[in-house]
């Protein structure tokens, strides 16, 4: 699974997600998937129906594989989500827990 190279994503090269959203042209969200490289990020415009559908599909696939999804609700605070939230600006996926 790799990040897309949509024009919306390329526009993020020099701006943070918050900065892009403040411009009002796009409404960007990101799905962050933990992996061996640290993480892989999938950004999408929440006003682009096709991109949102793709993000929802990714959410379903990852949670089906045992990943847990969490959204940030404030500095240092988060909640676990069981279903896709198209309004979530940042969703983090981490693998299932195992005893060490």
């Amino acid at each position: 699974m790799s990040g897309s190279n949509a024009p919306a994503e390329r526009s993020l090269l020099f701006c943070s997600l918050a900065q892009v959203n403040q411009l009002g042209v796009l409404r960007m969200a990101v799905q962050i998937v933990m992996d061996r490289t640290g993480d892989t990020r999938h950004t999408f415009d929440t006003r682009d129906r096709a991109a949102v559908e793709e993000a929802e599909k990714r959410f379903t696939e990852l949670t089906g594989m045992g990943f847990t999804a969490a959204v940030r609700t404030g500095p240092g605070h988060q909640r676990v989500v069981r279903s896709f939230d198209p309004a979530a600006e940042e969703t983090l996926f981490f693998p299932r827990l195992v005893g060490g």
Binding site: M34, T37, T68, P75, G76, G99
Partner: protein, 133 residues
């Protein structure tokens, strides 16, 4: 015929240069370092300001279990790095649980933080417990 004779050594030299450049561009240690940095950046993004300061200064930060209110100290690391503390901050025991797969330290610590802060019972149910010392 002369041209062909000249082209073969040229092609061999070119292949050697390409091979050498590929060897130089692949540095396993550098790749690991990049992954570690990405993991730590992600962790810092999700820590509270207090947790972030604590991690910067002491390489550990505290979280409060969502079910019991117990304080857990997460040390920098990828295994045996979660300590349960008593009400005066003394270590009670170690808990070992990690995300499945080979993840970098930042990702492991962030997973442990989120798990304890949102589903403490679930996290400890899969964890192995050992003495603090």
């Amino acid at each position: 015929m002369m041209e062909v004779d000249l082209q073969i050594p040229l092609l061999i030299a070119l292949a050697f240069i390409v091979f050498a450049l590929l060897r130089l561009s692949y540095t396993p240690g550098l790749e690991t370092s990049r992954s570690d940095t990405r993991g730590l950046e992600l962790l810092k993004d999700w820590l509270s300001p207090e947790q972030s300061i604590s991690y910067e200064q002491c390489r550990h930060f505290d979280v409060i279990g969502s079910d019991s209110g117990t304080v857990f100290r997460i040390h920098h690391g990828t295994q045996m790095n979660v300590m349960e503390l008593d009400n005066i901050g003394q270590p009670v025991c170690r808990w070992c649980f990690v995300p499945d797969g080979s993840l970098v330290a930042g990702d492991v610590m962030l997973t442990q933080k989120i798990a304890l802060e949102t589903n403490e019972r679930g996290a400890l149910a899969v964890a192995n417990r050992s003495l603090a010392h």
